[in-house]
Subunit: 296 residues, 2 copies
Amino acid sequence: MTETTTAMQQPLFNKIVIIGLGLIGSSIARALKTKQAVETIVGIDNNPDMLMDGQTLGVIDEIGTIDGASFENADIVIISVPMGAIDSIVSQALPLISADTVITDVASAKQSVVDAFRATTDGKTPTNFVPGHPISGTEHNGVRAGFATLFENRACVLTPLPSTDSTAMTTVQTMWEICGAKVATMDISHHDSLFAATSHLPHMLAYTLVDALAKKSDKQEIFKFAAGGFRDFTRIASSDPIMWRDVALLNKTAILEMLAVYRQELDELTADIKNNNAVAIEARFRNAKTARDALL
Amino acid sequence: MTETTTAMQQPLFNKIVIIGLGLIGSSIARALKTKQAVETIVGIDNNPDMLMDGQTLGVIDEIGTIDGASFENADIVIISVPMGAIDSIVSQALPLISADTVITDVASAKQSVVDAFRATTDGKTPTNFVPGHPISGTEHNGVRAGFATLFENRACVLTPLPSTDSTAMTTVQTMWEICGAKVATMDISHHDSLFAATSHLPHMLAYTLVDALAKKSDKQEIFKFAAGGFRDFTRIASSDPIMWRDVALLNKTAILEMLAVYRQELDELTADIKNNNAVAIEARFRNAKTARDALL
């Protein structure tokens, strides 16, 4: 065993501003603090409780607002508000952020975020903006729901544009790697259709099931006799309704496409059941089981 | 502390025959053995591996077949085969089982099981038959997947018929209580529509989703980027395809009814997304979240 001495190291980042101290924003803050990767984290949120809690919990160092001083000399500004608020945040904040500051976001669909930037900049996407999407979350929300290991060993997809500056890209990639994420890159339209399939559609289906059952007269009894399978299947229906309303509307094209595919498949299963087509039903279920088992 | 001496007690049941040593059958055997509630468990299965494993694991005491000797002097015969096999099992076994032996089953839908009995007895349901349905399971199957605590604190629904003997009913109820289950009773048609909603429909939806995605050309990538929500949502798609094919066909009417309700709700959500009806989308999601959160 050799004795090692650790010199006091300067954190990699001097100042990071997080707009939106929800599950994702506050978890990034916690992860970066845990790794001692940042000197100062400034939190901005339209809900004063989130800011107070953020400061009390030591998640942020300073409370900021959308103004020049809050963004001054920031290495990175992270936009982690619900998707429906991005338009308004970008139009207010973008003119106040220096071209030397890297901007990124965490939204579940990327085209609408790029559109929000373009709307503010007469069609040109700023070269310092790196669209991002961490593939992690829980059904809980708010600053208290966050935790430092949320991104550990999870994918984080970045969808740089041709105009995106490569230094900005490296900065955001490094930030996510410090948070424990495995960074992948993808083009925007591919991202938006991929996650419509794997994430957005399941949320639509789970919400629809629970909503449908909750409308039934015997709902008390239905939920009373719900077993473990039902609980797991519907966990994502406990997710933030605002966030998912926004995803539904802001990744509309890709989600409608997947809903149409799903409806077609469900109609085929329904026909197979009606026609007592045991072979076809079993083949579907077996194909699904094989694919699902391979996930593990 | 007082010293207590436990007298050697006679087990409550002398002999129990379990036809079908899968997840449920073998878990009943384990639970009854753990509680020392039975002298001898006879296992019957058309798969010799299940019987060998069952004996090696100590889950059963004897290997039986569908014959008079196997059923002789049994307190209870439990039919825990896949639903599609019940017809044939009942027609072979019922004539060999004494009226003094209680018969029960564990199928997820009850009318078709009663019909199978009636088909064998010229329309009369034997008074010693108590239809049952333990509300527990996992996505695994086979004798090795079972465990003694599977039914602990879970519901078990019995659906006695007007003709069911009350002593037989008490015997089955006692057996389930020994296994740790909370017994509820319900009429058959109510049972079948309730579980079509809370269990059968979710399985149909999960299988359909995974099957639909597994057919897509980019399925590798879809599953690669699947997050925790997807894994939970689709866990039940790893369930036994044979079992669920049988449920789909043998609770057909109630399942088709629920599929129609679901399709209608999904069409409404689709229309709301198409029409950018943010208020309606949020209301649905919020209603679902409230109901789902109340489950916990």
